[in-house]
Amino acid sequence: MAMDSLPSGNLSGIQKDELMEQVQQQIAVANAQELLTKMTEKCFKKCIQKPGTSLDSSEQKCVAMCMDRYMDAWNLVSKAYSNRLQRERNRL
């Protein structure tokens, strides 16, 4: 991110707000895409042992459950990481 080359002096307040919103949106989209990619890869690995001619219902159930657990794990890891950051900050 080339922060110092932004011609922000020429931006009106509204343009600036729009820009900030766009940035946040793009980050959110990228985050969702990353999650989607990872989840697909992980759940395919976990649930499809031998790819058959179609996704059978047990595979579909497994994928659905795997998705939910992956997001649970994501949230748990997020909490664990921010707790650790907090602890490290307090030690300084």
């Binding site: 900030m20 980050i27 990353e34 459950m65 657990r69 997001m71 794990a73 890891v77 997020s78």
Partner: protein, 97 residues
Amino acid sequence: MADLFSNTSTFDDSRKPKSGEAELQEFLMVEKQKAQFNAQIHEFNDFCWDKCMDKPGSKLDSRTETCLNNCVDRFIDVSLLITNRFAQLLQKSAGGM
């Protein structure tokens, strides 16, 4: 997944009235930090999932939860240990010159 995209709690998000330039700079810094934080979680979750997850069940069992928590903390421990030891090695080799 309500708290998935709003890890704002960890970061100081208070917006004081400032000049446009400074406000934008600070906004980008905070967003960058948040993005780095998120990227780190994606990475942790990636390999801790492989280490801790058996067959995905109807909920995360407590054994898996403990494993995930330990996985994050131990990874950071290893990262700190290696960083410190590497710094010592560098110092030693620099001192020997």
